[in-house]
Symmetry: C2
Subunit: 418 residues, 2 copies
């Protein structure tokens, strides 16, 4: 009961703050973000001190080295974090933009004006830098944010949130604009997800298990980013050199990310010559390749792929490889096993490129480029709050503009409806 | 179990159809809609026959006259319905539109292309014409639709859906594009709301009870339209004649609609002269006025307003009236009691107009015009599928463009990520 009331109070403070934030001018928001970046850097020793508590607790609990690494804040991590906040400060302010305006026959001027969403809840795991990243993006778009990080980073998250609050307050950012739920009990998440009258949007950032829990328990709209089972389809007209380079880049440049290629589809008319080349290049980068029957007739020592391989998000130096007889078969495979994240075609045939763009309904569809480009920064959005794999509200990499809505504004001169 | 399997099969057919629909050219969709309108009109006697079964059953069940009226299909209703379908046919096709495209420093061309949402579930009550309206809008935007009308209109809805399917099939619209759930058991709705892997969006259209049920039980994103507690704020600088005309129009032109005014807020500096005038004009239209204390000091025979009146969506010739001391008080009242639907200010003061537009975060904010204009047709959207009162995906009147999403499309020439 106490916990429930506390989470609700946080929500109410956010709602109040959201009204004030919606009216802030762009200059105030930018200078607040600049001050926040300064303060984080100035108070870094204090942050490291708190971070060490989390790191030690994680070691004692026996968390994996990878987990401990992601948790650990260094001067480099801190520099990246403050640079990120400064970059957000320099973005254009989306709020108040009139995206369209038109005149009706009766003289009414009708327009759509960008407005903040209101209150956004971010539920995340592990990396404490999300605390500053997410808070900065929400603030830029005029939203209040409720942060709920993982229990393993609680000390780091709390000190970062406090520094952001204090430095923001100096230029008039309301205290409720950036709040962190200080309760590590998961019941706090469950309560947050019930505040449908106070919170406008929930964005979970983390593993699939977290996202499913949030989506399954929320009465508030959730923007989901499940996983990235990304495909490259090498068409029979592809430039073989370009195709090999794109496949290697998409697989090995950073295999642990959601936009790395997980399955390679090769047109059968091209497979005889291409499969050995691409296998050689990928093996040189230590990629294990699990192939379909047809591919193993060409390169017999591939690991045989099983049904589960087509669904797999390896996030590792492993690749599933399938030979397909047509673009239709490639598209059908992507529809069945894909995750609506990112797919690329390599081709020299304009018609094939055009058809692939039309038929594939993933959030990003590329022609002759690496899947690794599917990213808010790479697309030039200026920042990224996540990658949505569902089509409602936003689809694909989400920037700060996706943290806004639009309202209709209407200027009249006494018009009445007849 | 049988019911569950049947609803799921409907969902699967929709998903299949959605792939085909996404690739249809604009001409095919328009001519399908024209044929549908023709067929509905040609087969109207058959439709009336089925409709009579619903009307008789409704009378036997003792439904209210208003309910029976809404259910009854006449030649006039049929004409409006077919005109509506033809109007949707003539709208521009949003699918495939590239809403923006830009070049990145590495030469990549990155764009956003409008795509259908996929499969849309519409859950509605009473009026059988929604069956054709909603199906037409979904088809125009390239979506498959699953319709679930009220049990009281089951015969009418089934025959309309069948006519749409048959006439669409003649020009190659897949059978699964427009489906009606023929099961009147509410369990069918519950099953539909679980098909998160097959359905992209749910739009409930009906009373608050229906919408709350859908929102509370859906694993699929829901676009809600709860209610319209719309306000007009008459500022002290208002033109009194314009203010009276707008208030009368907003209240009485069609009081049963969600964009009718429910509460009138009057600036205290203007109340002494304005309240008697507006009360007189509204009373001449048989409006009952429930006033706050301050208003009753000016016009003593007003019905005293109680707390519940400020929350009320009367949908009737009743109006709540409150005198406020400032715009801040008006805005605070709207935030506390409003429904984020539509609010209007009447003023001659530019600064007040500007501030009202900024501070009120409802889906439609008007200056010097009747709240009754808050409507997809009046705004020139060409059609309306509903009015969203939550900010995610769409906010305010929703046209066919709001039944689309965008995907990122990227044209490269072998770019790799470094």
């Amino acid at each position: 009961m106490e916990l429930k009331a506390e989470v609700r109070r946080i929500g109410e403070r956010s709602r109040e703050a959201a009204y004030a934030l919606a009216g802030l001018d762009s200059g105030t928001k930018s200078s607040a973000l600049e001050r926040m970046a300064d303060a984080l850097w100035r108070q870094r020793e204090e942050i490291f001190l708190e971070n060490r508590k989390d790191v030690e607790a994680a070691r004692e609990k026996g968390l994996s080295t990878a987990m401990v690494d992601r948790l650990t804040m260094s001067e480099k991590v801190m520099r990246e974090m403050t640079d990120g906040v400064r970059q957000v400060a320099s973005l254009h302010d989306p709020v108040g933009e009139i995206v369209r305006m038109w005149r009706r026959p009766n003289g009414l001027l009708v327009g759509k004006m960008r407005i903040p969403l209101g209150v956004i809840g971010i539920i995340y795991e592990s990396r404490p830098n999300v605390t500053a990243d997410a808070a900065a993006l929400c603030l830029k778009a005029g939203n209040a944010v409720i942060l709920r990080g993982g229990s393993e980073a609680i000390h780091s998250n709390m000190v970062i949130a406090r520094v952001l609050q204090e430095s923001g307050a100096e230029v008039g950012i309301p205290q409720g604009a950036i709040q962190l739920i200080p309760i590590t009990d998961r019941a706090a998440v469950t309560e947050l997800l019930k505040l449908e009258d106070l919170v406008d949007l929930i964005i979970p950032r983390g593993g699939e298990e977290l996202i499913r829990y949030v989506a399954g328990n929320s009465r508030i709209p959730v923007i989901k980013h499940y996983k990235g089972v990304c495909h490259v389809f090498v068409d029979q007209s592809a430039d073989p050199e370009m195709a090999v380079a794109i496949c290697v880049n998409a697989k090995v440049q950073r295999p642990g990310t959601c936009n790395a290629m997980e399955t390679l589809l090769v047109h059968s008319a091209f497979a005889e010559s291409f499969v050995p080349r691409v296998v050689e290049a990928l093996r040189a980068e230590k990629v294990e390749i699990r192939g379909c029957e047809a591919s193993r007739r060409i390169v017999p020592d591939l690991v045989p792929a099983v049904e589960d391989d087509w669904y797999a998000e390896y996030l590792d130096l492993i690749l599933a490889l399938k030979v397909v007889d047509s673009m239709e078969e490639a598209v059908a495979h992507i529809r069945k096993y894909g995750s609506l994240h990112t797919e690329s075609i390599v081709t020299r045939d304009l018609r094939q490129a055009h058809r692939f763009l039309q038929m594939v309904d993933s959030s990003t569809v590329l022609v002759n480029a690496s899947t690794r480009f599917s990213d808010g920064f790479q697309f030039g959005l200026g920042a990224e709050i996540g990658i949505s794999t569902s089509k409602i509200h936003a689809f694909g990499p989400m920037g700060h503009e996706d943290l806004t809505s639009t309202k209709f504004i209407v200027f009249g001169d006494g018009q009445l409806r007849t």
